[in-house]
């Protein structure tokens, strides 16, 4: 059984940004998931004769330079963006949180090592890591996931360590230690549950950063490759004809902005709603 510090829960309605953010995020996520089973048109279907159509009842967002349906592309592209960002968050949290907890629980040389390691990874922006990985394994969505995932590791490690350190000094942890629980046991049974909300909040923020990073990587040609699509790739495809057909860049661009705003609102709202107390202790402001 773990001990959890009960936060001072304010009525959830007092966080409108949370609802707006979560609602918009869910809407985009739903749109993305629907693309798994249905899109208005197949996204790889190229029909030159119907390119550059304006939005209409048939093509809600018009068609692109190869006659593909923009609405279908946006749906599939959003899915790619979410998927890449979510898997990257999973990688970052899966490796970063245990590292951070271990650093907090053991302290000493291990803590030093974890901190220096995260400093080291921090020194390489996602784009540099991505260039390194793609030059070794070639461009692609998988490699974008790995690159963004690596970029996420230090973020989660620091949040986990910071949160855990503030709990580690509390009495119930001392009690557990006196009861003979090992460092690993304390980390798992007492520290982890208490920093979970922090991790979730950070996960939301990293999700939005991951979507931006995926867009950026695809934009420079290191991420998703055609015939698959992502919002960043759509931007890249359309940028050469931006002055003639600005719509084709605006649609994916605005989508990226909206998704990121939604996720940031949701993240801020979650932080306020779930855990004002931990916030007061000073969650490290680490996401670059």
């Amino acid at each position: 059984m773990s001990t959890t510090i009960m936060p001072d829960r304010r009525p959830i309605l007092s966080h409108p940004s949370l609802w707006i953010g979560l609602g918009a995020t869910l809407m985009f996520a739903l749109l993305a998931l629907v693309s798994l089973v249905w899109t208005p048109y197949p996204i790889a279907e190229i029909d030159i004769a119907r390119r550059f159509l304006a939005p209409s009842a048939e093509h809600w967002l018009g068609t692109d330079n190869l006659g593909r349906d923009m609405a279908s592309l946006i749906m599939a592209g959003t899915l790619t963006s979410f998927l890449v960002a979510a898997l990257a968050v999973a990688i970052g949290a899966g490796i970063g949180v245990p590292l951070g907890l271990a650093a907090a629980a053991w302290g000493g040389p291990l803590e030093w090592l974890v901190l220096r390691l995260t400093d080291f990874i921090f020194a390489f922006p996602a784009i540099i890591v991505a260039i390194l990985i793609t030059s070794l394994f070639g461009p692609g969505a998988t490699n974008a996931i790995i690159a963004i995932g690596i970029f996420n590791i230090p973020v989660f490690a620091r949040v986990a360590r910071g949160g855990a350190l503030s709990i580690k000094t509390l009495d119930f942890v001392a009690a557990a230690r006196l009861a003979g629980l090992s460092n690993a046991g304390i980390a798992y049974r007492h520290l982890l549950p208490n920093i979970m909300s922090l991790i979730i909040v950070q996960g939301t923020i990293q999700l939005s950063l991951g979507i931006l990073a995926e867009a950026g990587l695809s934009y420079v040609g290191l991420g998703t490759q055609p015939p698959a699509t992502s919002l960043g790739l759509m931007l890249r495809d359309a940028q050469g004809i931006f002055l003639i057909h600005p719509w084709l860049t605006l649609v994916p661009g605005v989508c990226i902005v909206l998704i990121v705003i939604a996720l940031n609102l949701a993240g801020d709202g979650l932080r306020d709603a779930i855990d004002p107390r931990l916030k007061a202790v000073g969650a490290p402001n680490v996401a670059a």
Binding site: A49, R51, Y219, P226, P227, I244, G253, I256, V257, A287
Partner: protein, 493 residues
């Protein structure tokens, strides 16, 4: 947190600032080109990008190809041909110097061709010059070529970038520090960025108007567009057709639409299964909808081709209907070849707009007959290495811009891997024939064999769509040979 990154993608897309061109007046020109040359020695590589920078600018040959594609005197003032057509005697221009100050004479000519034909030659088109049996230096300004058989193409071949005259003192360094006899000398090459040339004062020929020319390497269409609009470059010889509309009605620019010698191919690795099976290649040919490719990738600027030959050449024959677009036929042929469900293959795409766009369109067309293509975007140096040199590819898309280059198919070691003895002997006969009517009928036969064998997917003849500052004149509208000749370019005010 993350706020500074919000809209990162959109901002990138919106960086197309409209700044009035700052006209660089006077005698300097900055030209944007899509591909950076791997080296600067035109006798040591097949890439057109090399000739774009150096051909007739830094280096010159005995003859020179003019904007109409005819042969003009170059370093050779004139020449005479013996009765039997086997001996060409060239009189060289006096007072010609290389950019390092050394003088040009008949020994340099002999050295150049000995180097092309030598065992260590890295020339991309040795075969054009194998007809040469012996070169005799008669006096410093006279040189005689003895051929093994008459050759109707010999004078043209001497005018190619592959046969520019180099000096024994500098030839080995030409890859990075080119020294020729042309009107421009090499100043510097900032790799990944630009090459700078400047006028060579003691040039032997007619003086040129420009004092300095900078080639700027920009492979991205949006960047090129912005560079043109902002006046960072004064023009480009071949701009991506998709964005040409930006400049068409802008009085500050002129758009020059012309022809090139570029047969754009879905180049196929004929030595590799399943592409070694004629039925598979025929199926691919039936699966290609040329009209959609030309509209989608070149915005209608390409001309359909059915074999490896330029439509504006008098020897051309229209073979576009050899394997007309027919999905059912394609499926039937695939089934017959043992691929009823199609197969998977890779398609490597160099960083040029026509290839990247055609690639997506072809992948979609092939998907309809069950051929699943994985698109792999590669940088140009990597393309040259993987595809052209190491033949490590299934399919690729590239334009072959050399004039009259159907003979490449007679080389079984060429990256297509096409080995057909019938075709090889036909090309041998063609090369040895000087009678125009006979040459034409042989060239037509050669085109027909390639079309029938569906060696490559024959897509379209690349158009030249140059965008230039309206005040610049003297650019070539057509591109009858690989190159971007600066000789006549000048500012009109």
């Amino acid at each position: 947190m993350g706020k500074t990154l919000t809209g990162f993608g959109l901002i990138l897309a919106l960086t197309t600032a409209l700044i009035a061109p700052a006209y660089a007046a006077g005698t300097e020109v900055r030209i944007g080109v899509a591909l950076e040359p791997p080296v600067l020695d035109p006798t040591a590589g097949a890439a057109e990008a090399i000739d774009i920078v150096v051909y007739q600018n830094i280096f010159e040959g005995l003859t020179r190809i003019d904007p109409t594609g005819s042969v003009q005197p170059g370093l050779a003032r004139d020449w005479s041909i013996s009765e039997d057509g086997l001996t060409f005697t060239f009189n060289l221009h006096p007072d010609v110097t290389f950019h390092d100050g050394s003088s040009f004479d008949a020994e340099d000519v002999k050295f150049t061709f000995d180097r092309i034909l030598g065992p260590d030659s890295v020339n991309a088109h040795k075969e054009f010059y194998e007809v040469i049996e012996a070169i005799t230096v008669i006096d410093p300004l006279t040189v005689a070529f003895k051929l093994t058989r008459p050759s109707g193409q010999f004078l043209f071949n001497l005018g190619r970038g592959d046969a520019v005259i180099v000096a024994p003192e500098s030839a080995d360094n030409n890859v990075t520090d080119p020294i020729g006899t042309g009107p421009f000398s090499f100043v510097q090459w900032d790799k990944g960025s630009r090459v700078v040339l400047e006028q060579y004062g003691p040039y032997w020929g007619e003086p040129v108007a420009l004092t300095k020319a900078t080639y700027v390497f920009i492979s991205d269409t949006a960047t090129m567009t912005n560079a043109l609009l902002a006046g960072d470059i004064d023009g480009t010889n071949n701009f991506a057709a998709e964005a040409l509309a930006v400049f068409e009605n802008d009085p500050r620019f002129k758009v020059l639409v012309g022809t090139t010698e570029g047969e754009t191919l879905l180049a196929t690795n004929n030595r590799k299964p399943p592409f070694d099976d004629l039925r598979v290649r025929q199926a691919m040919a039936h699966a290609l909808d040329r009209k959609a490719i030309i509209d989608g990738a070149t915005y209608g600027y390409g001309t359909p081709i059915g074999s490896h030959f330029a439509p504006h050449n008098p020897y051309y024959v229209d073979l576009t209907n050899t394997y007309p677009f027919d999905i059912e036929k394609a499926k039937a042929l695939l089934a017959e070849a043992g691929f009823p469900d199609g197969f998977k293959a890779t398609l490597k795409l160099p960083p040029v707009a026509y290839a990247r766009l055609s690639g997506q369109i072809i992948a979609s067309q092939f998907a309809k007959v069950g051929i699943e293509l994985e698109l792999i975007n590669v940088e140009f140096a990597q393309w040259l290495e993987d595809v052209y040199t190491n033949k490590d590819f299934d399919l690729t898309i590239i334009s072959h811009v050399e004039p009259f280059d159907i003979g490449n198919y007679a080389n079984p070691d060429y990256y297509f891997g096409y080995d057909n003895p019938e075709f090889q002997s036909l090309i041998e006969t063609l090369n040895a024939t000087t009678d125009d009517a006979k040459r034409k009928s042989l060239a037509i036969q050669a085109q027909e064999i390639l079309a029938r064998d569906a060696v490559n997917g024959y897509l379209f003849e690349l158009a030249q769509t140059g965008v230039w500052n309206a005040k610049l004149a003297g650019m070539w509208q057509n591109s009858p040979i690989e190159g971007l000749v600066l000789r006549d370019i000048h500012w009109t005010e």
